[in-house]
């Protein structure tokens, strides 16, 4: 991305934040947003309004946290009038992604709690460190590490259970 033109000191500060636009767009898209660009643009607009609150040295966690709130707001607006089974399910919908996931991983992620799932995905998909992911979720680094450890263990157990599941007989015969 070529640098947009920044004139005032505030605009120059904001430019350092704005450079994270592609990462925010990708985040929104991976969380299943049908309008990831709009979410990213709104995130940047919020960052401009609250520029003093944005940690300029490392703005990505703050931006992802804001984008997550906007996604949740978008989801609530869409679901208003209905009773969702789980408010945060929308944050992971691999069916919207090109290529998709393996069925085992898809099933395992869906069985995790939203907070466990988000902890795993911020590390694995968004490439954040534990400290950055903790800031994005608004928890302490220690709490995040505990959550991540728990999520990895649970997800691992779910994947192991799916690996041990007996293979349907029809598939065995088809393989011969």
């Amino acid at each position: 991305m070529s640098d947009p033109h920044a004139e005032t000191p505030d605009e120059q500060r904001f430019l350092r934040v704005f450079r994270q636009l592609p990462a925010v767009t990708a985040y929104a898209r991976r969380r299943g947003s049908p309008d990831a660009e709009a979410i990213a643009a709104e995130t940047m607009a919020v960052a401009w309004r609250r520029l003093d609150a944005v940690p300029l040295a490392d703005p990505l966690p703050w931006l992802l946290g804001t984008a997550r709130n906007l996604l949740l707001e978008q989801y609530r607006a869409a679901q208003r009038g209905r009773v969702p089974s789980h408010a945060e399910d929308v944050f992971y919908d691999p069916r919207l992604e090109p290529g998709g996931l393996s069925p085992e991983l898809d099933a395992a992620l869906r069985q995790l709690s939203p907070s466990d799932r988000e902890a795993l995905l911020l590390i694995a998909w968004e490439g954040l460190t534990s400290a950055q992911a903790a800031r994005a979720l608004g928890v302490s680094a220690v709490a995040f590490r505990v959550r991540l450890h728990r999520a990895r263990r649970r997800c691992g157990a779910l994947l192991a259970a799916s690996d041990l599941r007996p293979i349907p007989q029809t598939e065995v015969s088809n393989g011969r």
Partner: protein
């Protein structure tokens, strides 16, 4: 398996690379569009409340605020916020009006507020009046942490004050104190008498002074506080204030205070006197200038027993105590029905400031269930206190004056040896023993 989870997730990461974010030219346009809006004009908006939620919030606020407002109105808790701050001497006067606080081991539990309980900065003028002398008297109040307030009238015949507990604990409808500027002359009971205080009855709104000549005056109040100079016509005996009536909003009397100036005290019964032979039950040396302590007993002229302790050194020895005070069943006052503690124990001393020398002794009596009495010292030694017809005197030896060896408990036992009473004696009380400590300079203590 858990260790592989992140690797597997990374391998299957959905394709949403930063390159998908759009055309760089679009990003530049977006940047320009965002920064075109002034930041201060886009400060975070207050959350919008739907009307229903707003109505609920208003209802909840009303439900909380209404009782608080009523309570504040009736208990006058906002008085301090409404008054003016007093000058420094008044703050010092209010501070000095209360007893100094001492540690839990330096004396018995303190009743009422101490200087430490004053809420600094809460001193306020709550009422004022222009006196006949042309001076202005003011009533100041201060909040105390134990609940309630202390108040002081400054500028009247003389400065004085009092304290009241919180309204919920106070069983009197009005807390009033009186000042009189000297003895009355030519048939008057006082000169420049002043009444001050506050209405403490919840729901009461006004105060009326009733006089002996059946006339009355409405006493002006401000948030329940009042400072009132009695009109000159009512300085005369026969016209003096007899009662303060507290009225509610409908004019109904909801409480009264009788005889605010204490001009008509209740008559007390004639005391009983010893008659007949006086017996000496015990005699001890005080160890001070050859002085002797004697425990004496005699029959009273109404059939009760009378006792006294005579200290040959002191003229401050208590006189005879007769009647039910030392009756056969328990040391209670006549007409009193409550059960007293099994032991009545007093510690007396002569402490001459920083000059060493004096004495310390105990005196008292025990109830009928007490078979023996003992005194325990800080060094864990124990000494019996001989009982003489349930009365006792005990001189504390000089070896037990120093801190670390002083009396610490008095213990009473029944016939089976079971302890039925135990009382802490506050051995760390400053200047309680005649050791001549420098810190006790100027504190001459003698109480018989």
């Amino acid at each position: 398996m858990a260790a592989d989870v992140l690797d597997r997730l990374r391998r299957e990461r959905p394709a949403a690379e930063p390159a998908d974010a759009g055309d760089p030219a679009d990003a530049g346009a977006l940047f320009a569009q965002i920064v075109a809006v002034r930041r201060d004009a886009n400060a975070p908006r207050a959350p919008r409340f739907p009307r229903r939620r707003l109505a609920l919030v208003l209802l909840a606020a009303l439900a909380i605020a209404a009782p608080l407002a009523i309570a504040a109105r009736t208990t006058h808790v906002l008085d301090f916020a409404l008054g003016d701050p007093p000058p420094t001497p008044v703050v010092q006067f209010l501070d000095g009006m209360l007893q100094p606080a001492y540690g839990p081991k330096e004396g018995p539990p303190q009743n009422g507020p101490t200087r430490q309980d004053i809420v600094k900065g809460s001193e306020r003028v709550v009422a004022e009046v222009r006196l006949r002398t042309g001076k202005t008297a003011r009533l100041y109040a201060v909040d105390v942490r134990t609940g309630g307030q202390c108040f002081a009238a400054i500028g009247g015949p003389f400065d004085g004050g009092s304290c009241v507990p919180g309204p919920s604990k106070w069983r009197y409808p009005v807390a009033a104190a009186a000042q009189m500027g000297g003895a009355g002359r030519a048939g008057t009971f006082a000169k420049n008498p002043v009444l001050y205080g506050r209405i403490t009855k919840i729901g009461a709104t006004s105060l009326v002074a009733r006089y002996a000549d059946l006339s009355s005056d409405v006493i002006p109040t401000r948030n329940g506080w009042f400072l009132f100079e009695v009109p000159k016509a009512h300085w005369l005996r026969g016209h003096e204030p007899l009662r303060l009536d507290v009225l509610d909003g409908s004019g109904r009397v909801v409480g009264s205070m009788k005889d605010p100036f204490g001009l008509h005290p209740p008559t007390s019964p004639k005391p009983e006197h010893p008659s007949g032979v006086q017996r000496v039950l015990a005699r001890e040396s005080l160890g001070w200038k050859g002085a002797i302590l004697e425990l004496q007993s005699a029959a009273g002229d109404r059939g009760h027993r009378c006792v006294r302790v005579v200290n040959a050194h002191s003229t401050n020895t208590g006189g005879w105590m007769c009647g039910a005070v030392v009756a056969q069943t328990a040391p209670v006052s006549e007409g009193q029905t409550t059960t007293p503690p099994p032991v009545y124990f007093e510690l007396h001393q002569l402490v001459r400031g920083a000059t060493p020398g004096g004495y310390v002794y105990a005196r008292g009596w025990v109830g009928p269930h007490v078979a023996s009495l003992e005194i325990r010292f800080q060094d864990s030694t124990v000494a019996p206190i001989p009982l003489h017809d349930r009365l006792f005197i005990y001189v504390v030896p000089e070896a037990h004056w120093a801190l670390g060896t002083r009396p610490s408990y008095v213990i009473a036992r029944d016939r089976s040896g079971r302890a039925i009473f135990r009382r802490f004696l506050y051995p760390a009380a400053p200047c309680a023993y005649p050791l001549g400590e420098k810190s006790c300079a100027g504190r001459f203590i003698t109480n018989g």
